[in-house]
Symmetry: C2
DNA sequence: CTGAAAGCGCTTACAG
DNA sequence: CTGAAAGCGCTTACAG
């Protein structure tokens, strides 16, 4: 492997000079520069980033922790994040907790070993907030609250809930079924902001005198489970006339409805929450509440930037041991708007 | 930041001893080990992987180059790859060429700068084979041929084509429309093995006296384009009674058929090629040819392992400058079987 | 079994 | 403007 030393020798200059030329920093005479560049070409020199990483204590890599990239929701999120990070010359390390046998803590471990510069946390975690706040490295959460000092970004799920409820009420729905995660996540002080759309729909339909039942969907990881969930809805609630759930659930519900000869949207309305590509592949164009993935990714990347900058800053000035997460002043959570897109599955 | 030196000082031993304890290599007396471990705990020591990386000239990271992870095909491939790599303690760097403004050559550049240990190439490239063979670092191609010495893995597309043709012929199809990539890729000596399933179907239907037209789909990146493609098929070929295309195309074709009141499968059969989750979300359970993603990922990872091992080996023994890609003896391409799964869209 | 030393390939003050 | 030196944090022969 040809290194800077070889280039320096070939060009008859010092290693420092080669470094200056490679990095375009500092002043180098045109004469020297030419000699060095010639030598670099001659030897096909390619700088080794690992040495730089060590010196800077930086990898320019961000880990994106998601349950699985097989799910369109997380694929979409990840794709948009990669775009944002690439703009900032940051690489995206795919960290899924369901696809690999690697839990979040192993990824956090890698963060602490400086294998990455930061983590976007968008997967489930059993850890208590004090776990997350004690890590003391750049972490930004998506759609969950990991504790004081860990900035977080989420969609405006309350608004999403209102949009859905308004549609259902306005179209004369009588019996709504909501599909979502484990009901245990709905406890007071939940760290899952997503539940807010469910809660909003439940509240508004109740006020309007509309029946609203809740069905727990299978794991986000398992598509087959969603199929079973869809079938179960019709069995358990034969008079259901509106189903609300994630794209995947909505698509499966539509498929099941067609199979049972139920007319959509006349007899049954379906609303998909998320608005990924999955919603476009269904049997009809699904009506949906679309999350603004581009906006979410931009906000997450922005927060990550700040976290990283704060870390660099505090390293220079702050005392080593003091555990102080960056940007204490961070909002409890940045909120990104959602939008309602009427399709062929509502009336 | 607390380093090995601090631990050594605290424990009253040398840095070498700390290193031995951390790595569990070599012999260390229980006495020393205990002292070191106590000190590590005391100081909350966490090893910095960057230094190791530099010494080993390794990152344990593999870049996966795909057009976009938004497409279920590549999401599925990537998810399975990550699983395989994780088993081998390798991390997965997401390298998409369409989501970010980063082309393959930038990723190759990163490979050469030792920001990763290898690349799985599954995206389009304009480069000639001599570009790829001259890189001289671990590269494994998926579903494309990048030149002598670059191992490659693909599905058995001929078999896939035969399965499709048999179904169509057996069910009495009269007018088949195949949807696929730009026809220019079909030239003699193409580096795109995928076209073999199209060619096989065309040949077999021709022999059976069945009409078979080819429609170019939009970019793999663009889902909306697929919708337009689907609509165009029905306009251009009003008597079409069988459509074959990727999951996404098939799903959109089904949607369009239902919209036009065309009965599937009685009047129109649809076969999806790939067999990702996208095929399950469609209006009906699509009949499909499923690629064995797990098998593909395993084969790719296996080849990558060999490439990396070969690189390490040649580094020790071989002379530096000699460009010689690992495993010259690699097969022209490893072939993974596909399977036919009957759904509700064929008869 | 343990320690002093050299080195991974680069960067950055610091003299000149 | 250029070079010699120290150092990023760890690993690994090599003496003892």
């Amino acid at each position: 492997m040809v290194g800077m030393r070889d280039v320096a020798k070939e060009a008859g200059v010092s290693v420092s000079t080669v470094s200056l030329v490679v990095n375009g920093t500092g002043y180098v005479s045109d004469d020297m520069r030419a000699k060095v560049e010639a030598a670099m070409h001659e030897l096909h020199y390619i700088p080794n980033e690992l040495a730089r990483n060590l010196y800077r204590n930086r990898t320019n890599t961000i880990g994106v922790i998601v349950p699985t990239i097989l799910h369109p929701f997380f694929a979409t999120l990840t794709a948009h994040l990669q775009r944002e990070f690439a703009k900032r010359d940051l690489k995206t390390l795919l960290c899924s907790t369901a696809d690999a046998a690697t839990g979040e803590s192993e990824y956090v471990n890698m963060l602490q070993r400086h294998m990455m510069d930061g983590i976007i946390m968008a997967a489930h975690t059993e850890h208590q907030p004090d776990y997350w706040t004690s890590i003391n490295r750049p972490i930004v959460a998506f759609d969950r609250i990991l504790g004081e000092g860990v900035p977080s970004v989420r969609s405006d799920h309350e608004a999403g809930g209102r949009m859905i409820a308004r549609q259902l009420i306005g179209s004369g729905a009588r019996h709504v079924v909501l599909v979502g995660g484990p009901r245990s996540q709905f406890a007071e002080g939940t760290t899952f902001p997503t539940v807010r759309y469910h809660l909003t729909v439940e509240q508004m339909t109740a006020e309007a005198g509309i029946a609203c039942d809740y069905v727990e969907a299978g794991s986000v990881t398992d598509v087959v489970a969603h199929e079973a969930t869809a079938a179960a809805i019709f069995q358990r609630y034969p008079d259901v006339d509106a189903i609300v759930g994630s794209d995947v659930v909505a698509a499966m519900a539509l498929q099941e409805a067609e199979r049972r000869g139920i007319n959509v949207p006349d007899e049954l309305q379906i609303i998909a929450y998320d608005g990924t590509m999955a919603a476009e592949l269904a049997g009809k164009r699904l009506t949906m509440v679309r999350q603004d993935f581009a906006g979410i990714a931009a906000a997450l990347a922005e927060q990550m930037d700040q976290q990283i900058e704060a870390e660099n800053g505090s390293e220079r000035s702050g005392q080593a041991g003091e555990p102080s997460n960056a940007s204490e002043s961070a909002q409890p959570g940045q909120v990104v708007p959602v939008s309602f897109i009427a399709g062929e599955t509502t009336r």
